[in-house]
């Protein structure tokens, strides 16, 4: 910027007066100009590097990789699980307590704190989990599958919980449920069980 007509000892006061208001013609503050230049230069660099030259992953690649990592972790955990291991977990107080903690925030609204699906005499939307009648199967892996993926027809039953809770919590909740049951106890399938129709 030129400093024409500018005396050394002060800023130029412009002559024109607008309804009593006058204006100095100060130079632009350097620190202000430089912050601006930096933001402009950053725009150019970022646009060229991340966008035009494609350095780094795109948003879609990033999220796909993260999802793939979650799935890989889950598959590894699942591969290590079977009925016996889940029964064993149901006897481990640490796992059961962790499952109870999740149950008491996530599941009680439909299945009640005592697993009866009844609260103060009223029936809640969920099925009782403390009796021996099961709709989707009584084996630990069958129970785990329902907690993970929800009912086969979601509009009529349980929502899937694995995405939100993660595989570890889902396993813990299953262990907590199993702690109310005994390995090898007799059970019946509910009248409307989808498993009954299967040959």
């Amino acid at each position: 910027m030129s400093a024409k007509n500018q005396p050394d000892n002060g800023p130029v006061l412009r002559e024109h007066v607008y309804d009593g208001i006058q204006e100095y013609d100060q130079k632009l503050p350097n620190w202000w100009l430089f912050t601006w230049y930096i933001t402009i230069v950053w725009f150019v660099i970022a646009w060229v590097a991340y966008y035009q030259l494609g350095r780094g992953d795109s948003d879609v690649e990033t999220i796909q990789k993260a999802i793939a990592a979650v799935e890989e972790h889950r598959n590894k955990e699942l591969a290590a699980l079977d009925d016996d291991k889940l029964w064993a977990m149901s006897l481990d107080p640490k796992v059961v307590d962790a499952g109870k903690a999740t149950y008491s925030t996530t599941c009680v609204a439909c299945h009640a704190p005592d697993l009866s699906a009844h609260l103060a005499g009223a029936k809640l939307p969920g099925l009782p989990l403390n009796d021996t009648e099961w709709k989707h199967g009584a084996s630990p892996t069958q129970i785990l599958k329902i907690v993970r993926k929800g009912a086969p027809d979601l509009t009529k039953g349980m929502p899937p919980w694995e995405p939100q809770l993660g595989i570890q919590r889902v396993v813990e909740v299953t262990a907590f449920l199993l702690s109310h049951h005994k390995k090898g106890e007799a059970f019946t399938l509910a009248a409307d069980s989808p498993l009954k129709a299967a040959p």
């Binding site: 607008y18 725009f43 948003d59 796909q64 439909c110």
Partner: protein, 794 residues
């Protein structure tokens, strides 16, 4: 008009209109803030959702509209009418238009206050008012524009002062934004569907929404600052040069920044990039305004101690600086991943609204009232007390929202060390953790409102001591040839404008050309900038001489301002509207709503669910774990209006469909706490008794079809039958789950809609994004189409 050089004339300013607008602003300001305190209470005490018309979803738009358009709107008009007359040395051109403007605007406000609680809404934030009111707003704004520009044309002061530049930018830009974003097709006198849908609607809405902040809440208030602050401190403005640079850069850059409201969403990447980086480049131009305000006080800092008006102005400008620093920060994609949908944004806008707008208004009113009523301020002590409780109120409000937003954002985004599971899977757990902060917000807001009411009392006492006065002044009538002589050739064909356009053209070539050519264009742009700077240094005198003469010409100035504000929107919106259409969608395309689902969706919009629930799962792992697969661009392509939302007081609903049984929704709408312990959502008992609107479905579907939604041809009876068949089916399914609902009730339609959310088809034919056979400039090509950013199915 005479041509004698020293002819004098006596003019009387129209100060009655100023007084009226000021009183209206105080009244509506109190109403708007009271509504704000009430809805803040509702968030902590859900029982205060006393009736359907007093529920949060309907009152929150009332609060925002009242504060923006009624409080700040009337304050802006008071400031503009007072200062423009004095800066033009002319009375407002037409008393009739001033009257129409005032009463028309108040009628619009009353109409808004009636329709919004009734659930009549367009479903877009700050653009909720129904279409007949939109038409009225556009017309009354036109009246304001004619009155203002006519006054400019009749002015007795050749040169336009910087305050007038900002008023000009405000008037033309608000008109442009308002009209484009409100384009819709009516289905009845009280309902319409937006012209744009999905991603296009989102882009246009936030082009509007962000620039409502820029051109309704910022530029007019900057204009007011440039007139009233030097008046109050009796010092010259700090820098004319800074005024020029920050005005033009502010109005040009602001327009591009809208997409920062849509970061990490399904919005195309190039728009997200532009939104973020233009927001960062906006920081310095915004601070130019703050510096010019603060540094004008140099040599008069002692006034800050004694004069309450100066206190209010300086605090306001400081809050402006703080908000405009925070804004770019929140626009950084990584920061936004945390802050978006959270209370941090709420704190940010209130730092602006309460701090910048509210304190400027207070300073303005304390200064104006004694002048307009020929008296002295009733109590300086009260004004000082107002200043302190207002400032403390804002600080409590903003600080609690920072803590709340950052805490909830961190909790919602927290994953375990391996990144395989959420740490806080239960949404309500995060809501409960911010309850105390939401409580502090109520305290801060109440303090601020108390200060505002004290001001109203103080000003009323001041008015009672005096009488309304009209200021008269003798002014010199200027020669016809002393102003408004510049033609279009001189406006556009001169060095400053020509260099700007050439540079801009090269920058656009850099942004839009395919790989290879883009970098070449960038190099050209860099080379060209060096030449331009050299030319500027050589021809500095000519360049500033041209600008000084431009200031003597209101129409060329207005035309150039319009070009500056129109460009950013054109460059972002036109390619999006031509390319991002249903026929070009590559991976997923939304399923069309059945008549019943459409009726349910209109209820969702009408109840204002979007005020607390988003329908947009971002490309972030925590979002995906919590709500499901990230949302694709095509999944809302038929949504008129889009409902992506901007705040998650409750969880995202983009993939709610089929997640819960009907009975869950039934219970949840009747009493949210029965299914979600600790929820602060209102209950909606009226949905269980009121009938959904069957009659209007025919017209609604006809309008949807006109808008390009592929509905099959259906007669009125077919539509009705289809709606009822689906309703009966849902009612039966509910009955099987032990819930009773009549098939024609609103709850059934709403459940139908909620169960449809997230349902999509995958197009069988592989589509090409752009048609072939047309050369580049004619063929619409987005920067994204050359690059690996298009979202695709794996």
């Amino acid at each position: 008009m005479t041509s004698a050089p020293a002819a004098k004339t006596v003019i009387t300013f129209d100060d009655r209109t100023v007084r009226r607008f000021m009183l209206a602003s105080i009244l509506w300001g109190a109403v708007g803030m009271l509504a704000g305190v009430f809805i803040a209470l509702q968030l902590n005490f859900h029982e205060l959702n006393l009736a359907s018309w007093l529920s949060f979803g309907r009152l929150r738009p009332l609060h925002t509209n009242a504060v923006i358009f009624a409080f700040v709107g009337n304050m802006m008009f008071a400031g503009v009418y007072y200062s423009a007359q004095r800066l033009c040395k002319a009375r407002m051109a037409s008393d009739f238009l001033s009257n129409v403007h005032f009463w028309g605007w108040q009628l619009i406000i009353v109409a808004a206050a009636v329709t919004l609680p009734l659930g009549l809404t367009r479903g877009q934030e700050y653009a909720e008012l129904i279409w007949p009111i939109n038409v009225a707003v556009a017309l009354i704004w036109g009246v304001f524009a004619v009155n203002f520009f006519w006054t400019l044309a009749k002015r007795n002061e050749p040169s336009l002062y910087v305050a007038l530049w900002f008023y000009i930018a405000t008037i033309i830009t608000v008109a442009m934004l308002y009209i484009v974003n409100h384009l819709s097709i009516p289905t009845s006198w009280t309902h319409s569907y937006t012209l744009f849908a999905g991603v296009q609607n989102a882009l246009v809405q936030w082009w509007y929404g962000h620039n409502a902040v820029a051109f309704f809440l910022t530029t007019p208030i900057l204009g007011i600052m440039y007139y009233f602050l030097p008046k109050a401190v009796e010092r010259p403005v700090y820098s004319y040069r800074l005024s020029i640079v920050h005005f033009w850069s502010l109005v040009f850059i602001y327009i591009w920044a809208g997409p920062h409201h849509l970061l990490n969403t399904a919005l195309p990447k190039w728009l997200q990039m532009l939104g973020m980086f233009f927001s960062l480049m906006l920081w310095a131009p915004s601070w130019g305004g703050m510096l010019n305000g603060l540094l004008t006080l140099r040599g008069a800092w002692d006034k800050l101690r004694t004069d309450p008006v100066v206190k209010f102005y300086i605090a306001a400008v400081t809050f402006y600086g703080m908000s405009t620093f925070e804004g770019p920060l929140l626009s950084i994609r990584a920061v936004n991943a945390l802050s978006h949908y959270s209370d941090w944004t709420i704190g940010h806008v209130h730092a602006g609204a309460l701090g910048w707008n509210g304190l400027m208004a207070a300073g303005l009113f304390y200064w104006l009232t004694p002048k307009l009523y020929g008296s002295r301020l009733h109590s300086v002590a009260w004004a000082n007390f107002h200043f302190w409780i207002a400032t403390i109120g804002i600080l409590i409000y903003v600080a609690s929202m920072w803590v709340s937003g950052i805490m909830q954002g961190l909790m919602l985004n927290a994953t375990n060390a391996q990144g395989t599971a959420l740490v806080y899977p239960n949404f309500i757990e995060t809501l409960i953790s911010i309850r105390a902060m939401m409580g502090f917000r109520i305290i801060g807001g109440t303090l601020y409102l108390a200060g505002f009411l004290l001001m109203a009392l103080n000003l009323w006492m001041t008015m009672r001591k005096g009488k309304p006065v009209e200021e008269s002044r003798e002014v010199a009538v200027i020669d016809r040839g002393a102003k408004d002589t510049m033609g279009m050739r001189e406006t556009f064909l001169n060095d400053p404008v020509a260099y700007m356009f050439a540079g801009l053209f090269l920058v656009l070539a850099w942004l839009f050309l395919p790989p290879g050519a883009d970098i070449a264009a960038l190099l050209c742009a860099g080379f060209f900038s060096v030449i331009a700077v050299k030319k500027f240094r050589e021809g500095h005198g000519r360049w500033s001489g041209w600008y000084d003469s431009l200031l003597n010409n209101w129409l060329p100035f207005t035309v150039l301002t319009f070009v500056a504000v129109a460009l950013g929107g054109l460059i972002q919106i036109i390619p999006t509207v031509t390319v991002n259409r249903a026929k070009n969608v590559e991976d997923r395309i939304q399923q069309v709503y059945t008549p019943l689902e459409l009726a349910g969706r209109d209820l969702y919009v009408s109840e204002g669910c979007y005020n607390c629930h988003s329908q947009m799962i971002r490309t972030m792992l925590p979002d995906v774990l919590r709500y499901g697969d990230y949302s694709r661009l095509g999944e809302s392509i038929y949504d008129h209006p889009f409902q992506w939302g901007s705040k998650r007081t409750g969880p995202d609903l983009a993939r709610l469909g089929g997640k819960y049984p009907h009975s869950w929704h039934y219970d949840h709408m009747m009493e949210p706490r029965s299914t979600s312990v600790g929820s602060n959502m209102p209950s909606y008992p009226h949905l269980f008794t009121d009938k959904f609107d069957q009659k209007s479905l025919l017209r609604k579907i006809a309008v949807m079809t006109r808008l390009g939604v592929p509905y099959p041809a259906m007669t009125a009876d077919e539509i009705k039958m289809q709606a009822l068949e689906q309703a009966v089916k849902i009612a039966e399914e509910l009955k099987a789950q032990g819930k009773v609902a009549a098939p024609d009730t609103q709850i059934v339609a709403l459940i139908a809609y909620l169960q449809k959310l997230g349902k999509f088809d995958t197009p069988e034919v592989e589509r090409k994004l752009t048609p072939h056979g047309v050369p580049f400039p004619l063929q619409p090509a987005l920067p994204d189409s050359h690059r690996k950013t298009v979202s695709q199915n794996p």
